[in-house]
Point group: C2
Chain length 158, copies 2
DNA sequence: TTATGTGCAAATTCTTTGCAGCGTG
DNA sequence: CACGCTGCAAAGAATTTGCACATAA
């Protein structure tokens, strides 16, 4: 939420360009287009969803480029890759505040939450083990309120 | 650690047999052999490691059977499947107490820890969202003390 | 100009499945 | 003796890669 409301320079662009250049890489149209589409998506899209969204606007961009660009975004630190119960990766823009996830194993819904107590406990644990923490991920699995009401059952596993 | 020290009846056997029977399934030699080898392994083996360990002793057991038996163990609740940074699943015997993981992104080492504060915070958060929690997983990523000392660098991502 | 990036399709990797025969209950 | 389980190999799903052409710097 920073300033003008339409067609402003997106906040990901400068750090991305800087990162690419710092690597001796090239700022290309496909990279910027994939990034633009990705950052416009909601939620926690998998590659498939990103590819479809990209190809809706630029049909000639191949899926390999989407994969490669998502890796680039992850390396740049602007995006995080996660794997929830599914066997594919999902991607998520990195915001300023760290958040974790509630994963509904019944309907697949993913909600975010933030908890300072957990963040602090993590630092404490990492310290206790002489660990230099670079990140963490935590998921609470179960059934969301709606599925509980409907008595849907979880799919399997923990 | 329960009692006599050699060739005692392993603790996984009865619950596994009960589970299989409760499902109308059959207690077969391959299933018991895969289970025996699996529960004899240390750490957080992937399927590949389990297959190799199994085939060292029973070369005629196929990998499909290992996959199928691991799923059976997960369904029975005796084993949990996890995915860390890698793109394959790792399996871990379920103990009485819940523990979480410190994952070293430099050398791949995985350490376990347990923290009542985190367990409790999770319950509190699940409650706050009307979530019926069935489980959770949490990983702290970073560099372990040894890698920090050696100044090894993490591989990528979060 | 020249190395890096792209698009396509084929290759890899991990996992699941079809099927004929085997063995438990 | 019926139905579930096994082993094999082939199929599938997600992701990576080789290569010839395109293009940023």
């Amino acid at each position: 939420m920073s300033g003008r409301s339409r067609k402003e320079v997106p906040s990901w662009r400068e750090p991305l360009v800087d990162y690419i250049r710092s690597r001796g890489g090239r700022v290309t149209a496909p990279r910027l287009r994939v990034a633009e589409v990705f950052f416009g998506l909601q939620g926690h899209p998998g590659v498939e969803e990103v590819v479809q969204a990209v190809q809706r606007r630029w049909p000639q961009i191949g899926q390999a480029t989407v994969y490669r660009t998502l890796h680039l975004l992850v390396d740049s630190g602007l995006v995080e890759a996660r794997q929830f119960g599914d066997r594919f990766s999902r991607y998520e823009a990195v915001g300023s505040e760290h958040h974790d996830h509630l994963v509904c194993d019944c309907c697949g819904a993913i909600r975010e939450f933030e908890d300072p107590g957990i963040e602090e406990a993590q630092r404490r644990i990492a310290d206790a083990f002489g660990f230099r923490m670079t990140g963490h991920r935590m998921e609470i699995h179960g059934c969301c309120a709606r599925c509980v009401a409907r008595q849907t059952r979880p799919r399997s596993g923990a």
